[in-house]
Amino acid sequence: MHHVSTPVTALFVFLLVAMTLSLAFEEKLHAKKSVIVGLFAAITLFLAAAFGLVHPETVTIMGNPVTLPVYVPGINWEVIAIILGSSLFVDVTSKCGLFTWIAIKLTKASRGDPLKLLIFYSVMTVVFSAVLNNVTAMIIVGTLSGVSLGKLRLTNKLLGFLLIEGLLTNVGGMLTLISSVPNIIIGSTAGISFITFFITASPYVVVATAVTIFMGARLFGIKALKGEAAKTEAASLVAGFDENDGVESVGFFRFGTTMTVLFIVAMASVSVTPYVKDLGMGYVALTFAVIMLTRYAATADRFYQAVDWDLLAFFGCLFIVINMMEHALVLELIGEGLKPIIGLGETVGVGVLLVASAVASSVTDNIPLAAMLAKILGGLELASDSPFWWAVIFGANLGGNITPIGSASTLVAVTIIHKNRLPMSFASFVKVAVPFAALQLVLAAVYVLVVLG
């Protein structure tokens, strides 16, 4: 480990705090995440070079010496590949109409009964969050809620539906290793396999989902319909939905469905599939994206344009900043600060880390938090089944439920709420969401300590 003077480390700590605050006030600054973090990446790189913390290194790749710019090795390319590949795959697959088909089928199966609709939409939110990603799940289920409740003349219940769905995206986002970015970062650093992750997280997800639905139904007065006339009228109103309307071609629909199933199977079996295990999940995600793009081979550029480059640039720059923080011994400093917490043991320590992660990710992006903690915990050489990893996973995901800026999906929920001209301020969101988040965190703490501890 090279020597870094205390003032230099302090300067980098200041930059890290400044970046975190800037991300927390992203909306106020009217600046995209990628620009904010990109600026800090440029500054930290320059300062790291000026203080002699980083030097270009020459590595040998397939026998050839290659000098890499200092910012290249710092980026976690596996995470970038998984996000890019999954996003493209989901975007192209959604064109086959599978997700909207499922959503409309469930709407019709509810026969317009509000309570059944809430249960179906909630389960759908969790499953879509797990299979797709939180934001896409919220967009699909949230927009359908707006349309179907409007049709059923139940717009007074829309706020409740959207809030419950928003809160469940972060619960569903814990179901698999690829369901959320913190899962990908922590899981890949800890060496948790797809299957292990699923088996470990699923009991909690099931219980937390049931509790959230029950609590939401009571709080927002969402009840089953009574009386034959009301039931018949509601059923006839939702009967007008045509699940096949969004299916462009039956062939592509079947292809998309098959590929979605294969995608999940392939992701789940990466660690045991010969050759593929050497290439990683990023390879699987990108390969499936390319296969799906063959359907739109001539117009694939439309999908490239639709990729969220802000998110990808944000990740790339974030990894650079964290890498520079590592060189400036900031992570070591934070790790020292975390040692007393970890020293509290696998009961109190885990509980404190879970709550601290949740509080931190409620006011700022949970991705930098996950990336930093992954780096720090990785340095402590914890076992892959250590409850500390799970404390960060649960805390980083569920913390997003405390405030509307805590996660991208709750932000989407609030956007849909405002789009439907429903009142929802920052404070009123917190007032409604805190009891849900508190209960989910208590359940998570009990689960991590009692079941996983």
Partner: protein, 285 residues
Amino acid sequence: MTNLNQFESVFKSADKAVYTYDRPTFDRVLVVTDLNEADAANITNRVRKFLNTIDAAGTRWDTLSGDAFGSVQALLESIEKHKPDLIVTYRHLHSSAWQWPYSLGEYLDVMTQATSVPLLVLPHPDDDRALPHSIQDTDRVMAVTNHLTGDNRLVNIAVAFTKPSGTCWLTHVERKSVFERYMDAISKIPAIDTDVAREALSEQLLKEPRDFIAACRAAIDAQGLPIRIEEVVSMGRQIDEYGELIAKREIDLLVLHTKDKGQLAMHGAAYALAVELRNIPLLML
């Protein structure tokens, strides 16, 4: 990445108008003429033969001859007294203006808006412009509108008037002039791709009535009604399109809306259709 509008559009498009079959009944029919009693009775007999599809055993037929009313007020009072489910009449009662095809005449003008009863308007008895197949039977009925989707009443009435084994055309002609005006505005907005907008908008405007007609056909088939439902969905100038369709398909009866909640005058193109399409019977709702 997927976005909000993309999915909202998909779900809104999937939310289709539901058609429910409900057969209307016409228990009392009032035939209003400006002829003497004998000629008026002849007209009534001819109309009964023409409308035998809705003429049930209990249907009551009343006739007003020319001397039964001398003013619009008197006619409206008479209608109020008879409480008909259907009024049968023709243009230019008590007037010779039927020779000039530029208006409906004061009686019909008021009746279309002052009563909620469907009005069957026949070609004028003295007018030789009526098509040869006119007032024979209702083998070929056409419902016309520029907004068919969700219009259950229009479809149900058109179906009720269609003779068993006959054909009912459900039509929707989107006004091309209005479409082009919007496209002209869109072509001046840089943020919108004009070609994409033209294709997508035109496709969506025509898709909705097509979907609704398919739903009508399925529901009517499910009822086991012995009539055929045909679709005519296009974009153009309504008068021209309908004129051409009437001649080409030898339509016996045209069914259309005339009322508009937002105004006292006839809605949209209804007046123009009622004035210009004088060679076949029109059922004005």
